[in-house]
Amino acid sequence: MYDQVAQNKRRSILLILAFVGLVIAVGFAFNLVIGGGPIFLVIALVVAGGAAAVSYWKSDAIALRVSRAHPASIDEYGRLHNLVEGLCIAGGLPKPRLYVVEDPSPNAFATGRDPKHAAIAVTTGLLEKLNRVELEGVLAHELSHIKNYDILVSTLAVTMVGVIAIAADVGVRFMWFGMGRSRNDSNDSQGGGGLTIILALFGFALLILSPLIGRAMQAAVSRRRETLADVSGVELTRYPPGLISALEKLRDDYTVVGSTSHATAHLWIEQPQAVAEDEGGMARVNRMFNTHPPLEERIALLREL
């Protein structure tokens, strides 16, 4: 268990480094495609750094706003507050801020940057459909995200993916101008033309693929962390059947969270968007972009504890 936490931390550092590498690669591709020297690399790094800083300070507010969450009052949601307080005592954590999303679909997410600046949001559907023990299991899962600093990693990951996507978009647009110009200039330098075209194609491919690579990396981080949060959540409650039966209820419930976007999909305890059960060659590709492992796998893992 403790080894798994340590291993997970190492992996997330590696993934963050990979993200930084990808940002640098995008800056490099910019340079290849439209020229202009290392200035684009510098811009890419500055923008990525700036975005990371903004997300560090403001991510929780943004995520809560996007999901239309409102603060949960103690009077109205006494049970929610009681359960979270108990779990915080068990984990030696400060109590996070609690929010409610008016939505019939049962789901929950945690956000923030560290245990002192964290928030948990649950849907009204979750509060209605789960009993006390199940709700406790889900809240322990969310609290584990906070305890393991998953909230910080996933926030940074999502910002990086966004920056890369925007940079690639801008790069591809710029390139059409660049291509036109180089065709006009081709009379001057016939010799270097072949190499330039190869490099430009390489840059083009990198720009097109980088958002996909970024998203696949985000999904990989997220999938691993969901499983880990299940296990360490149970370490808090010491009662696997609670979370198991909660996940079974989530599995059997097909309502989809209304106020969600792809950007926050990885935050929730269960994939909030409808996932089609497709078969054939594309299924494997689609699974690469799932931010959550299949509920069946998670339930099976918990049964082994």
């Binding site: 049970r79 009681n82 108990g86 005592i89 068990a90 984990g91 006390r132």
Partner: protein
């Protein structure tokens, strides 16, 4: 000359290690104290909630006197208990007695619909959970502290500066068996003035 520098460097490293280990042990020890205090905070909260519960239930189920008296008696016993063993036994009695009070609501639909009662039930169930979690956290912290004290090389620092192993919180078999205690011999309690506890009843001999 190089040799001297190497020795100096090693000394500095050892010094840093001592500092970090010592501070780590101190912070774990304080955390244990804090965890222990947290248990008491939650127990106190339960003592405070019980009179309210009795007051609320009395209005709906006045002739369930015995059940209510049992809760109050168990509460007074726990507050007066000396020694962790007695206290654990009395706390278990409270848990059992509370269960039978909550079971009353099945027989009294009006009580079951009372918002005040429902809130108190939620509060008390929550407090019950928090007590268990506070004990769990205490034991987890003691586990980490003891492990650090026993493992090489931090055990050298621990021995040198007198960090001693702590005991786990354990509910032993005697205390566990005491849940179904017979209240027959205990003196009667006045439900009206439950906020002011009567003189301590004799501690159960387990």
């Amino acid at each position: 000359m190089l040799f001297v520098w190497i020795i100096l460097g090693l000394l500095v490293l050892v010094g840093i290690y001592l500092l970090v280990t010592y501070n780590g042990l101190v912070s774990l020890r304080n955390r244990i104290e804090n965890a222990w205090a947290q248990i008491d905070v939650q127990l106190k909260r339960r003592y405070d909630l019980i009179p309210n519960l009795v007051e609320t239930v009395k209005g709906y189920a006045a002739h369930e006197r015995e059940t209510l008296e049992n809760v109050v008696r168990a509460r007074n016993m726990a507050m007066a208990a000396s020694g962790p063993q007695d206290q654990a036994a009395a706390e278990n009695m409270i848990t059992g007695a509370l269960k039978s009070v909550f079971a009353l609501s099945e027989a009294y639909p009006d009580l079951k619909a009372n918002v005040n009662f429902l809130n108190l039930q939620e509060e008390l169930t929550g407090t019950e959970g928090r007590i268990a979690y506070a004990r769990q956290f205490y034991n987890d912290t003691v586990f980490r502290y003891n492990t650090k004290i026993q493992s090489v090389p931090s055990n050298i620092v621990a021995n040198q500066f007198d960090f001693n192993e702590r005991e786990y919180f354990e509910v032993d078999d005697a205390a566990r068996g005491n849940v179904a205690v017979d209240f027959g011999q205990a003196p009667p309690v006045d439900l009206g003035s439950s906020s002011a506890p009567p003189p301590a009843p004799p501690a159960p001999t387990a």
